[in-house]
């Protein structure tokens, strides 16, 4: 079964005022269960608006959103249940922290699910561990932590609800390189251990190719393409045309291609480029 499906999803802001704009324009996409999808696009390309539809925080102007086979706006679906199924972590999620202690803050989501206290405790500790939050941190005030730590607490707060689909809006934005790697590394680990479907919004193509299996590119509210990481760079030229970056090594391989050294269209890691290059050189020597 598909985890997420959108049909002709369209969303307009400020309908009926001079500020009316179409933020998401006729998006059709199907995401399978257990997938790790990277969502990339320009500022204002509609990525954030798109993901807010997936747990019903925004209601589409037209079209349908189907989560685990259920249309989320049909009458027999309680939208709160959808929000527990689809966990959404916002940009700069540390701004949502409010409790006296880290523990209580992480417990906020599970408590809203009316779980037993033992279950809440178990989930809080598991989620904290998965995000690398130590036991002594749990008793501290979230406002005393560093930026990267706060971010991980906010992530744990959503992970503790054990959603089947986890959506992360720029989880690494504004962190230093170490904080960035830690957060992304923890998310990737969590994906491997839990098999949760993950949608990761990012500005950085490098991050996406490193962690995601598939890439969804948004451009001006429209779905530009939805491809596996291996295939997406056959469109490198077009991706650069809409103003997005491709990894450095992909750019290099494009330049090499122009000079007659074709390494293939699926170069996005240094290892693969190196391997192909060695193959080519060996091939030439054998001739």
């Amino acid at each position: 079964m598909n985890a997420v499906e959108t049909k002709n999803l369209t969303y307009k802001y400020s309908v009926g005022t001079p500020f009316e704009t179409t933020a998401v324009d006729d998006v059709n996409v199907t995401i399978e269960k257990g997938e790790f999808v990277g969502i990339i696009g320009h500022t204002g390309s509609g990525k954030s608006t798109l993901i807010q539809h997936l747990n019903g925080l925004l209601k589409q102007t037209s079209g349908d959103v189907i989560i685990n086979g259920r249309n989320i706006w049909s009458k027999d679906v309680n939208i709160r249940d959808i929000r527990f199924e689809v966990g959404l972590v916002f940009q700069y999620s540390e701004h949502q922290l409010f409790e006296e202690t880290v523990y209580k803050d992480i417990a906020f989501g599970p408590k809203n699910m009316d779980l037993s206290p033992e279950e809440v405790d178990k989930r809080v500790r598991e989620a904290a561990a998965s995000m690398g939050i130590t036991d002594d941190m749990l008793e501290r005030s979230p406002f005393d932590l560093s930026g990267g730590q706060k971010r991980r607490v906010a992530l744990a707060g959503v992970i503790a609800m054990e959603p089947q689909i986890l959506i992360l809006d720029e989880p690494a934005a504004g962190l230093d390189p170490i904080g960035r790697d830690t957060v992304l590394e923890k998310i990737s680990e969590y994906h491997k251990n839990s098999g949760t479907t993950i949608l990761l919004v990012s500005h950085s193509m490098e991050d996406i190719v490193k962690y995601a299996g598939k890439v969804l590119v948004m451009n001006r509210g429209r779905l530009f393409c939805y491809e596996s990481v291996d295939n997406v760079f056959s469109k490198s030229k077009e991706i650069q045309m809409i103003g997005l970056d491709v990894p450095q090594i992909t750019r290099l391989s494009l330049m090499l291609k122009e000079h007659g050294v074709d390494l293939g269209d699926d170069i996005y890691t240094i290892e693969r480029a190196k391997q192909r290059l060695i193959e080519q050189i060996k091939g030439k020597q054998e001739c």
């Binding site: 009926g16 001079p18 709160r80 701004h95 949502q96 922290l97 906020f108 809203n112 699910m113 406002f143």
Partner: protein, 268 residues
């Protein structure tokens, strides 16, 4: 959502009214309000109403937006109308006399009169905020209040505080929206349950909002200090307020209408 709040919302445009000197706009708006209260009969009120409708036409603001500005005062309008309807005692026979309710012709007249007056009042004030950006509005207020400086009233500081407050209203609304969304995503239910539960549900929203508002205030103060802000003494402005022929022409028009309303009071 919270974004739909329209009071004080500015709709950019390039009409004569948009381009008018905001000081004139404020003063003329005050004159218009006085005019509404000077008018003693339907004729005068009708002239005032038609005038403001025409002004909306000139400013190219949609009729729907005008109605939107009226939405919050609907209860007040109805309350005033009902009160006048039943409590005004007229001469002659009542039109309706049933149980404790008596309605006279004068009652109907007065309540209609009051309704039109309140509606014109709000519509007139909204025109000012629809066509003038809040920042320019505070500039104008500062300029209009500047005589008070002689009395050592901190006019500039007041205007600066107003500017900052106005500037941050949309920011704070956006932020509240975001925090609400984030907590909703964690299963917070904001609109169900009793009063206590609702009040408790606000905690996860208000605390992050306060934390970030204080942080913002702190950062802003720091940024202002870094740029050597030290109050109004000797500051020049980016936007100079200048009166143009249009302003005088519009003023003449408003005064003519005002004159007509006064004369009209004596004639009819």
């Amino acid at each position: 959502m919270l974004k739909d709040i329209t009071i004080g919302q500015y709709f950019p445009g390039n009409s004569i009214i948009h381009r008018m000197d905001s000081r004139f706009k404020i003063v003329l708006d005050i004159i218009y309000v006085i005019m509404l209260f000077v008018a003693q009969n339907f004729m005068g009120l009708a002239v005032a109403a038609i005038f403001i409708f025409m002004a909306y036409g000139v400013a190219n603001i949609k009729f729907r937006l005008m109605l939107k500005s009226l939405k919050p005062i609907v209860p007040i309008v109805i309350f005033t109308a009902v009160l006048n309807l039943f409590f005004i005692k007229g001469e002659g026979n009542p039109l309706v006399d049933w149980w404790i309710f008596t309605i006279y012709w004068e009652g109907i007249e007065t309540s209609l009169f009051m309704m039109i007056r309140i509606i014109c009042l709000i519509v007139g004030m909204s025109l000012l905020t629809y066509t003038t950006s809040p920042i320019i509005l505070t500039d104008a207020i500062e300029s209009l209040l500047s005589p008070l400086k002689k009395l050592h009233f901190p006019v500039h500081e007041l205007a600066m505080m107003m500017t900052i407050a106005l500037r941050f209203i949309p920011t704070l609304i956006e932020e509240t929206d975001k925090i609400m969304m984030a907590q909703k995503a964690r299963g917070a239910s904001l609109d169900t349950g009793g009063l206590m539960k609702k009040a408790k549900a606000l905690v996860p929203i208000l605390i992050p909002l306060f934390v970030s508002a204080f942080k913002r205030a702190n950062e802003l103060a720091m940024a202002m200090e870094c740029r050597c802000y030290r109050g109004g003494e000797g500051r020049t402005r980016l936007r100079q307020l200048k009166a143009s022929p249009i302003d005088f022409a519009v003023t003449a028009l408003v005064l003519t209408v005002f004159g007509f309303v006064i004369v009209n009071n004596f004639i009819f």
